[in-house]
Subunit: 302 residues, 2 copies
């Protein structure tokens, strides 16, 4: 089932809306200067506008909406988060990392521009995230802003996503077991999905104790997402996926699919989705979008 | 005159002290975890401990001390700033960027480890900066912390250092004139030196209007620093410099030296230092270290 062919109209509308809002925000926030830095901004625009499912912005804005957060603030925080995600993809695609040629159905940034520009555009988007979050335009309250910065920086760095990417590099030379692959994925993919939910709750002034069920939801959909990704890599179609497939097996990396087999992996993903939804039991219809996102995560084909 | 052979004992002591404090802080803040991320943390330690003049930490802590800031808070902010500087050197040294083999007299990170680890260690130090600044341990007041984040993110990104690095890449294919080279260097080197002074003033609760003279000082020493760097690249000794020299001419880049000639460049640097010192006229002995730093910047040989 593809994203826009989903029978879930709530989800389909939300996916369409967030994609348009994210594109419009990047377009407005990244004007190209009329000087020698033009190439850098063009590269940042190439990487950010018009690509990806915008799953992290969708999650962040969905949680923020549950707590009555103004849409503009939620979109700005979502742009910060998505910028971290995009920068990590740019660097991950570099020849010295995964050496990928295709991303969201387009040539990767280092092929469309060059490697040096790709390194710098990634670095610039990395800063852009913290420029946005620290800007009073995102939220007048400095405590909320610094909490957003803290959540994102911790999720992104060596104790979060970047640590998971390091484990992923080591995975090519090691035989990781299931707990280690789980830990790797909780860091590499789970940390930013967790930040999406956390940042939505921070904007909604939900105290840390009141975020526990949301963290549980994020942890479960994070793992389900990665299992679904492994299944797409294992069985998928590169044209649909918009990126190369079959790469994990080629690199000799253990994945949920190699360790569990495709059938048990699929079953595990479904179980995680049920568990994620059960974390939302205290909420009524206001959490329906989060429930739809959880189901979408295992039903998508890209 | 080398850093530690300077006749200026105030400066010599401050340089020795800040080097030891920065090394000790990195050693304490970057313990190596006992899992597959160990290599990442070892790379972060290799790049951060035991190298460099620590000019940015020196400047930040010197300004903070003028305004009575507690030393521990100033050192933590200085570590954040230095982490951005170090990450930028790691990425700048990559084969697709400047392709340098030597940094602070040691093999560059991608040679000591590998390119992928160098990309990730740079990215992780980039986050580490914002993790430190957003941590309540740096400063209890959230407004001060978010101001520090904002100053550093803006100085580091596409509108600051990274924008300057992009211009530097373009410089190899263009014939930049003096105003363009000046602008390039104000971004590439000046932005972080400006952030050093700005962050010290933020910690000292100096209002933006009261920072104007410090910004003038930072702007002047930033340009003087770059002219001195160009002179070292033009005339210098690779062993003393701890990095390759003569690279700008080889790359066909215009520099202050190529545009002005060595004599006029040296004169210009001295004039900028005088001007920087004149910005401090309202201060007494408490600004002596800043005056010494300004002179050191043009007298150093590395």
């Amino acid at each position: 089932m593809s994203a826009l062919a989903t029978g879930d109209s709530l989800l389909a509308e939300a996916l369409t809306a967030i994609a348009a809002e994210v594109d419009a925000a990047y377009d407005a926030m990244l004007p190209v200067p009329d000087d020698a830095r033009a190439r850098l901004f063009e590269a940042m625009r190439y990487a950010t506008i018009g690509g990806g499912k915008r799953l992290r912005p969708l999650l962040l804005t969905a949680v923020a909406a549950m707590y009555g957060v103004e849409r503009e603030a939620a979109i700005r925080a979502a742009i910060a988060l998505e910028s971290i995600h995009v920068y990590s993809l740019i660097h991950d695609d570099l020849p010295c990392m995964d050496d990928d040629a295709l991303r969201h159905g387009k040539p990767t940034l280092h092929l469309a521009f060059d490697e040096a520009t790709a390194v710098l555009a990634g670095d610039s988007l990395h800063d852009f995230a913290f420029e946005i979050l620290s800007d009073p335009a995102t939220c007048a309250d400095p405590f909320t802003r610094i909490e957003l910065v803290r959540a994102l920086a911790c999720a992104s760095g060596a104790h979060g996503m970047a640590g998971g990417q390091m484990m992923d590099l080591v995975a090519e030379e090691s035989e990781f077991d299931l707990p280690t692959v789980t830990r790797l994925q909780q860091l590499k993919t789970g940390a930013l999905l967790g930040a999406a939910v956390e940042m939505g709750a921070i904007l909604g002034h939900v105290q840390p104790a009141g975020r526990t069920h949301l963290r549980g939801y994020a942890r479960d959909i994070g793992l389900a997402f990665q299992i679904a990704d492994d299944l797409i890599d294992h069985e998928g179609d590169a044209t649909l996926a918009g990126k190369a497939v079959g790469k994990d097996a080629e690199a000799g990396k253990e994945t949920f699919v190699s360790l569990l087999g495709a059938d048990r992996a699929r079953e595990q993903a479904r179980m995680l989705v049920d568990q994620a939804v059960s974390h939302l039991a205290q909420h009524g219809a206001e959490a329906d979008l989060l429930r739809s996102v959880a189901r979408f995560i295992v039903e998508r084909d890209r």
